[in-house]
């Protein structure tokens, strides 16, 4: 464990990726605290370019783009953690149980996984959002999580299948450990690095899904998010009016978060797998 921290802090990809993510997280958590007005309030001159007073300029209506951006970062992280967490929880539970128990239960869970796997997640989410009118970010995260777990279940199941037949699992059974304890204490620790990487990928995936849904106008409309900012920018012809400061920050923000997550992922892969380490 200590060795892995050592290599993690010497890996430039991990350090670089994590600093971008943490930097944006801190920005999102701290910056809105200093504003004495809300992100959707009309506070400045309309369509003003970036200045000392409004760092990222204002929208056509005079809303503070910097405040919208930093508030939007919060919802992006929230949807990533919740959506990724829910997908990880469902996928890992199904994968572990199916792989360890085997038999009929495995066949049923596998069938369920395959059904959800072939569903076009984005299309389903668009339909669900359009019909149900998702109002809050946690609800959006729940739906995203509910449709992005199948590949996790398949991968975890495959790894569990190979670990299950190892003799230390038999030994744990002989020592009187129950199924759940064996999964938690014997099998999962053997793939902890993989599970962490899985969560990072799910986090990035959930952020992208949420941004897509917000951008096409199906996200929670009451809150502020990076995708919704871009949706508004398109809606009010920011591109044609030359208001680049309205849509570039949210676009770059999403790209930076997801890109940094993937770079961290590759870096952590090198940390956990010595064969991939650059000398």
């Amino acid at each position: 464990m200590r060795e892995q921290f050592y290599f993690a802090f010497r890996n430039r990809k991990v350090v670089g990726g994590l600093s971008v993510i943490l930097g944006l997280l801190v920005l999102g958590l701290v910056a809105p605290l200093f504003a004495d007005y809300g992100p959707n309030e009309y506070v400045g001159p309309p369509a003003a370019p970036p200045s000392g007073e409004f760092l990222f300029g204002t929208t056509t209506f005079g809303q503070d783009v910097f405040l919208q951006f930093t508030t939007g970062l919060r919802s992006t992280f929230l949807v990533g953690v919740l959506g990724g967490g829910i997908a990880a929880l469902i996928g890992m539970t199904i994968g572990f149980v199916a792989g360890y128990r085997g038999g009929l239960l495995d066949e049923v869970l596998n069938m369920l996984t395959n059904v959800v796997l072939v569903l076009p997640a984005l299309a389903v989410l668009i339909i669900l959002h359009a019909y149900l009118g998702i109002k809050s970010i946690p609800a959006q995260a729940l739906f995203i999580g509910a449709f992005s777990w199948p590949w996790v279940a398949r991968a975890v199941r495959a790894q569990t299948l190979s670990l299950r037949s190892r003799e230390f699992v038999d030994l744990a059974r002989l020592s009187g450990m129950g199924t759940m304890r064996i999964i938690r204490r014997e099998i999962a620790p053997n793939m902890s690095s993989y599970l962490l990487l899985t969560f990072i990928l799910l986090f990035g995936g959930a952020v992208l899904f949420a941004a897509t849904l917000d951008f096409i106008g199906l996200g929670p409309t009451e809150s502020v998010s990076l995708g919704l900012m871009m949706n508004n920018a398109v809606h009010w012809s920011a591109l044609h009016l030359g208001l680049w400061w309205w849509f570039v920050p949210p676009g770059l923000g999403i790209t930076a978060i997801v890109g940094a997550l993937y770079v961290t992922n590759v870096g952590l892969d090198e940390v956990f797998n010595p064969r991939l380490r650059e000398m």
């Binding site: 003799e167 230390f168 038999d170 030994l171 744990a172 002989l174 020592s175 009187g176 450990m177």
Partner: protein, 261 residues
Amino acid sequence: MVMLALEGVTKVYQVGAFGRRKLTAVSEVSFDVGEGEVIALIGESGSGKSTIGRMVLRLASPSGGRILFGGKDITGIREHDYRREVQGVFQDPFSSFNPIFRADRVLHMIREGFFPRLNNAQWMSKVEAALESVSLDPAQVLGRYPHQLSGGQMQRMLIARALLLDIRLLVADELISMLDASTRIDVLNLLADLKQRGLGILFITHDLSLGHYLSDRTVILRRGEVVETGPTTEVFAAPSHAYTRLMLESVPRLHQKWESK
């Protein structure tokens, strides 16, 4: 006195999609193990000997027949109580230890399940006694990782693990097949020592000489069926089944070079 008895035990595996094909791993096997007796279960790869071991350990359930322990069907005994008296050691020490944890974890797993009421000092003295009884130096092996121990040390530690419980039967599945020749005899002598103390051993092996060294009685398996059974000295001196004779002839001798027949 009979401790463990197998009566017509059969194990059929369902293979292929939706279990359409059947594979009979063990077919109508019957034999028994007396109190403090060593039975050698000898067979080639795929003869079903390990499956029998797993069924005796209740890691797999028979599809037919009964296994009796102390006269009672083992499916009627609480698993926890059964495991206090019957334990196993497996072939591959390197896969018996979870590679990411310290090796003595296999000992401490027993504590949670079976001795939750002992305090730390009592438990440690019990662990040390068990390690010493398999001639391991506690100071040398406690706190080490599996890759820091030798194969022989690992197998001894696994035997010590079984001895933490007051077991009456040890299932030793290819216990020494993966050890080198010099450590092999030490572990074998350890088993002989345990036998002296009244422990019954089901010694599963493919190696005739190892089976002969230790056992009171021998059961020869072939393709899931018992082909010959009897006191070890008789089976080895005057094998009655053609397969046993073939096996005995195919053992390489120490002072004999290969020559075509």
